[in-house]
Assembly symmetry: C2
Homo-oligomer: 516 residues x 2
């Protein structure tokens, strides 16, 4: 192929030289044109070569996907509802680049750092794709010396993980974060984060849920009280984190065999992590012989009690479960941690699917300081909504026919029953667009009436304007109601108003009617 | 540093061993605790080491930037207006991954391919960041065997170009594309793209503009008629494209010296590219001795005439300029090409800034076929709005004090004049959030009244609910209008309704009042 290409280029060059020579010599035009034609023919071959159908398999990169219009409709709807709640709480929107200097991400994710996507060194800076939105937020706060911020950030992040795409686990996926940064009084912003999660899960209406809470200081105190050496706190923590997937026995074995925890310590931990409840549990643990001696456990339990008090004031205490088995994987949490879990499987078609964790977060008071040259801290607490899981549930419901979505919201289709009405259609479309009416027409000069009406039905377009010669002569056009198939003649002059009235009525009807 | 770290780790290991040994030997608890304390002290040192302030300069990668909340507010506002117009024309939203298989991008951008960001080969597929949204669209259509689609796509794209950030030229920047794919009758979708551009520029209201149009077939025919060899069409085209920045003399020199065009051919081209006008110019050129002999020139001129006819029907012909100097840089255009240009400098503070091109696009009928194994074509036409230039104008106006933005839309701030009202504030906030009222409060337990009111003023929050002991005893609270400073007592029970009425009134007032 390359050889063929190269010999073709040579031929073209020679033929080009010949043509130029003839022109320079001012030869007869016919003669020149003949050689130009040959040259063009050679070029044409070259273009075909250039545009040769490709050989590789057409696909998106592993673990990624396109969103078609139904999927973006679902996604935008979910994100819109979430954004409304973030804004109701006064959060501002910020945005950061999709990549960061690699150094910004270094040392922030522990073992998971191997999942970071690096960019190729093409000269200049060494860059990596963002792994979450929390580290870029911390970099942003430190870089701009910002001490207080309540912000939301909805954007895609990147992890070279093993994808499980049917369950909403991708290598490119949305994160949907709400964080409050600033030196404030204990648990006040933390409690608001929990309130935000309940509002979001209520409005998305995807089933019953519980919000598990725990405290990293309590976990540390518990490990300390059970005799786990301090350097094993974090790794023991990440083993505890597996309790939502593994039975205690397996977690215990991993602790002892892989993390070097003594069997005695493991058994003591085992007693604690079985516990869950509410304020009365925190009170009981404050009396616990071992825990009451640990400064950090007492601190954590005090925090939990205060948090539960605020949750009660805000009317969400019945949704909160203080659960000592909740650990969360990430290293950077320093205080309260939480996770929202759906407590019932979701019905999709005739099947039920278990979703589990759907939001999570916690307090991280030391992350911003890692970016500050004087180690100046900005305490932060935040929550991330697992929107990909929500998308995958809704997409599965769509596929099962449980829900339907409309991917455009066109109100009017301008159609013609006869030929040669394109000019009139164009004029009417422009008139309707200028009046703000969502309008479409066929891009064919003389489309068939049946195809035009079919397009309306398939796309849920409520009204068609139907043009006809005899009507136009009388200064009228027909408005067809696509659902009822009723047609009414209206004055061409009043078309915009007539349509606006009908669209408004329809809107009111839909708002009062049942939800599809 | 690393050495220090390593000796510390060794000490920790030894101390840990000691503790474990004591525990295993069931030594006295006091003795064990003593050694545990030493161990924890060592750990604490380690943590400080871990969190040592970093040494590199904190910044975003070259050519990129963060968007603060004012900038995202401006951006989201602009994108929202544009999206509304795309949807008014029935466009659906699709989305594609931020990276593609490198092969997908190969051979699509000519010389500019060197500006593509590649990802590092970390095992697995070889990937590149998307360079525009057009090639991913073509890949999407071919991969899913889609023959017709009207879609918009708003997303960031990546180019390793020389940034000029004050003028809105970044390495990471938004594209905002509207495209119509499908085999339709000539110029009908093309004309709608122009209509879309005029609606967007009208609604953004950033000044007078003109929409230049030309046709690639006419350019080819013109080059042919002037004696440029076919293999120099594209490179000559990209030289012509510089006419908006360079005078003809310089373009002529580049053509002759760098592109190998003969001086005679260049002079003939020079005569044509000076021409611009409307339908009458197309008619005149159809009579031109040289052009009338070129099949492709005649085809292009016919297309331009039809396009202008449709623009006249849609009432936008006065904004269109048929301009033979418009060439557009990209290789893949095959038919009509267009570019919107602001015709007046924009006033920013006391200075004027020239913006130039603000939207562009054209027809590309052969791009989808490059991805199809049978070379099956899906003709496309589209437009891209240069939103970054619009953002930079609005941001400059913001900086100059010409416009102002509100980054949150909080309506109510719950404040207290005295200490120990946090519990009551929490209850009221939850009540207002549950009623859908955009509400904030201080995250401090006992905030100062002055600070709370100042926060309202700084953030444009219209109302404060002010709690006081004597009022609460009487079952009332005060609503303070932040602008007028008037305070009214309302029943605590009716607080939600009272606030809703005031917020609604305010909304109506703002809608009827002058635009800020």
């Amino acid at each position: 192929m390359a050889e063929l290409q190269s010999s073709l280029l040579q031929e073209i060059k020679e033929q080009g030289d010949l043509v130029r020579k003839l022109k320079a010599a001012k030869e007869a035009n016919e003669k020149i044109q003949e050689e130009v034609s040959k040259l063009l023919a050679l070029k044409a071959q070259l273009n075909t070569e250039d545009a040769a159908p490709q050989k590789f398999t057409l696909k998106t990169p592993k673990g990624t996907r396109d969103y078609n219009s139904q999927q973006t409709t679902i996604r935008n709807n979910v994100l819109q509802r979430i954004t409304t709640i973030f804004k109701k709480h006064g959060a501002e929107c910020i945005d950061t680049p999709v990549f960061e200097l690699k150094e910004v991400l270094t040392g922030k994710y522990g073992e998971d750092s191997k999942l970071i996507y690096d960019l190729k060194d093409q000269g200049g800076e060494i860059l990596s794709l963002r792994y979450d939105l929390t580290v870029p937020l911390a970099r942003y706060l430190a870089m701009n010396k910002i001490n207080t911020l309540k912000r939301y950030h909805i954007a895609k992040v990147y992890r070279r993980d093993n994808p499980a795409m049917t369950r909403g686990r991708y290598r490119e996926f949305y994160q949907c974060d709400f964080d409050i940064a600033g030196q404030y009084d204990p648990m006040i912003p933390d409690a608001e984060c929990l309130k935000v999660v309940t509002e979001i899960l209520d409005v998305l209406d995807i089933g019953k849920y519980i919000l598990k809470v725990n405290h990293r200081r309590l976990l540390d105190g518990m490990f300390e009280a059970c005799g786990v050496p301090a350097d094993q706190f974090r790794s023991t923590c990440s083993t505890i984190d597996k309790l939502d997937k593994l039975p205690w026995e397996e977690v215990r074995t991993e602790m002892i065999n892989e993390k070097g925890v003594t069997p005695e310590a493991a058994d003591k931990i085992g007693e604690y992590v079985r516990l869950n409840g509410s304020t009365e549990l925190a009170d009981k643990l404050l009396e616990d012989a071992r825990l009451s001696k640990s400064k950090s456990a007492v601190e954590g339990l005090g925090g939990i009690k205060l948090l539960l008090h605020y949750c009660e004031l805000m009317g969400i205490k019945d949704k909160i479960l203080f659960d000592l088995s909740l650990a969360r994987g990430l290293d950077y949490y320093t205080g309260v941690i939480y996770e929202a879990v759906l407590t019932q499987p979701i019905k999709i078609g005739n099947e039920e699917q278990t979703i589990g964790s759907i939001a999570g977060g916690g307090r991280y008071d030391n992350l911003v300081g890692m970016f500050d040259s004087k180690n100046k801290q900005v305490p932060c607490v935040g929550v991330s909504i697992g929107v990909e899981r929500i998308f995958s549930v809704l997409e599965a419901k769509l596929a099962a026919g449980d829900i339907s979505v409309r991917t455009t919201d066109i109100d009017v289709y301008v159609a013609s029953a006869q030929k040669n009405f394109l000019d009139e259609r164009m004029k009417i479309c422009a008139e309707l667009w200028n009046a703000g009416i969502k309008t479409e027409q066929s891009y064919k000069k003389n489309p068939k009436m049946l195809n035009q009406l079919q397009h309306c039905e398939e796309n849920g377009i409520p009204f068609a304007v139907v043009l006809g010669e005899s009507e136009l002569k009388r200064g009228v056009v027909k408005i067809r109601n696509i659902t009822t198939r009723a047609e009414e003649e209206v004055s061409r002059e009043n078309l915009v108003e007539e349509l606006q009235t009908r669209i408004e009525k329809l809107g009111l009807k839909e708002m009062n009617g049942p939800v599809a």
